[in-house]
């Protein structure tokens, strides 16, 4: 039997993480507009609440009251199902992210702030996260529109190509830390010197680039590509179905930012403060994740979009060989036991 206290702690953790993810998704829509305004010398939304803080709420209400359209000749079941499957993987994968070190309140240890401590955490995240492409493809196909179909096709080609690079860079991190458990990976980077970003600079760069392609964000947002495909795969979507696609995109960005934090930036480890209390570690985790989220917005409003053949060329001819090279070198170092970075880390 599970004691009711444990159950309560579990439910609280789930509510906190899940609620946090949804709220971050909503806040990101505001942040995107605020930062884009800031970068373009505009003011951005400022009518609803102080600094426009209630804008996401107003948008949500608007989405609920909009008419939900069903295009002619659409595959009805799949058209309804696609937004769900686009948003679901992000909600599922957040479960394995460890957000903090062991939570200790009044001398009692409540474990890490994570819903599930899986031994195959990384694999679970990749496997379920890889399914989000179905939402885009099926949404594009079921809409019975050429623009949507083109968006869906591009998204599938793009996400498969860049998933390879993403997985290969993660494999190098796994080889270094010797475990698939995300909590153990972040435990292995307790001091700033042992963060994987120092031993995997190339891997980190490749991961960040592939991260943009995996979440269909600028400069790789070929699934939408509003200049040529109207709005790509979600051209025909309206009301809450469209909002679900939106929420799915921002949630996926949040999850992959959390993953980057755990894999390369030591998760909840605070620089130069090894035995920081758990809430400081949690704050550090949030700060690192926010940094990646800001990067997403920053890049979107700075860089122009690639051409599709350039995207494929970059993916297969540059990133994949580099990722393989990175994995090979990491493998050689690990198998020879040259742990240069651990020595450096012990100095700091």
């Amino acid at each position: 039997m599970i004691a009711w206290q444990d159950l309560l702690v579990m439910v609280l953790k789930i509510a906190l993480i899940f609620g946090g993810l949804i709220n971050v998704g909503a806040l990101m829509t505001l942040a995107e507009r605020k930062f884009s305004a800031w970068m373009q010398y505009r003011i951005g939304p400022n009518r609803v609440g102080p600094w426009g803080l209630l804008q996401p709420l107003a948008d949500g209400v608007k989405f609920i009251f909009k008419e939900s359209l069903m295009p002619d000749g659409a595959n009805k079941a799949l058209f309804r199902f696609a937004p769900v499957i686009a948003a679901l993987p992000a909600f599922m994968t957040i479960a394995v992210i460890p957000f903090s070190n062991d939570i200790v309140i009044a001398g009692k240890n409540y474990g890490k702030l994570a819903i599930a401590d899986l031994d195959i955490g990384v694999l679970f995240l990749l496997a379920i996260g890889g399914l989000s492409v179905y939402g885009v493809i099926l949404g594009g196909w079921a809409s019975n529109s050429k623009f949507s179909l083109m968006g869906g096709l591009r998204a599938s080609a793009q996400m498969i190509s860049y998933e390879l690079t993403l997985i290969l860079t993660i494999l190098a991190v796994i080889a270094l830390s010797g475990t698939l458990n995300l909590a153990e990976i972040s435990d292995g980077q307790a001091t700033i010197g042992t963060w994987n970003i120092w031993s995997q600079p190339l891997g980190f760069m490749l991961f960040v680039i592939a991260m943009f392609a995996e979440t269909n964000r600028h400069p790789f947002d070929f699934a939408e590509c509003e200049a040529e495909l109207v709005a790509g795969f979600h051209t025909e979507y309206s009301a809450m179905k469209f909002a679900l696609f939106f929420l799915g995109e921002y949630s996926a960005m949040t999850v992959i930012s959390c993953l980057a934090t755990v894999l390369f930036l030591g998760g909840p480890s605070v620089p130069f403060w090894v035995d920081a209390p758990w809430y400081v570690g949690f704050g550090a985790f949030i700060a690192k994740t926010s940094m990646f989220l800001f990067l997403f917005i920053w890049v979107r409003w700075t860089l122009p979009r690639f051409r599709f053949d350039q995207l494929m060329g970059l993916g297969w001819k540059v990133m994949l060989p580099l990722a393989l090279f990175n994995l090979f070198v990491t493998g050689v170092f690990v198998s020879l036991g040259w742990n240069l970075w651990a020595k450096l880390g012990s100095l700091i």
């Binding site: 031994d119 195959i120 694999l123 496997a127 890889g130 399914l131 493809i137 196909w141 179909l149 080609a157």
Partner: protein, 179 residues
């Protein structure tokens, strides 16, 4: 609970496997196959093989099925209505009888093979770490079974290269004829 879930998943996987064959729309076939893979992954999980379940979804669900969908969308198979004419013949009595006989034979062979299989009998003498964890599986795969593992990967590589060569050879005479 676990047993009930197993039977439910087994039933669902068989049902969706039938859907792969019987669905008229190729997209629905692919989605049925995907559903079948998911049910299988759940069964692996119920048996405690986490890694195999994750690999199943990662490889088949995340990559191969996406490629299937991709190709089907590019082919644009159009109206599936033309397939209706063959339906009456498909379910004629001799055909159904043949299918039942073949299925029964296959089932018999499968049951016989499982009964004879060294895997079932060797279950008790598995390594103490087991193969349900990643460490255990890796230890077995890159230790005791390294040679078969490498042989299989070489075979797969050879197949991939052969496919590329075959696909290329068809095109080259046309190019030569043009120039």
């Amino acid at each position: 609970m676990a047993n009930a879930l197993f039977y439910l998943m087994a039933l669902l996987s068989v049902a969706s496997a039938l859907g792969v064959v019987l669905a008229k729309n190729p997209i629905q076939c692919v989605l049925s196959l995907l559903g079948s893979f998911f049910c299988l992954a759940t069964i692996y999980l119920l048996a405690g093989f986490q890694f195999i379940a994750a690999a199943q979804i990662l490889v088949y669900g995340g990559a191969i099925m996406v490629l299937f969908l991709f190709v089907i969308m590019l082919l644009n198979l159009g109206d599936p209505g033309t397939a209706d004419k063959t339906d009456a013949r498909m379910f004629s009595r001799p055909n159904v009888a043949a299918v039942v006989v073949v299925a029964a034979l296959l089932l018999g062979v499968a049951v016989y093979a499982v009964k004879l299989s060294p895997v079932v009998h060797a279950a008790q003498e598995l390594p103490e770490r087991g193969i349900d964890t990643v460490h255990g599986l890796a230890g077995e795969m890159f230790g005791r079974y390294l040679l078969p593992f490498e042989a299989v990967s070489l075979l797969l590589l050879a197949t991939a290269i052969a496919v590329v060569v075959l696909a290329k050879r068809e095109r080259s005479p046309k190019r030569g004829a043009k120039s």
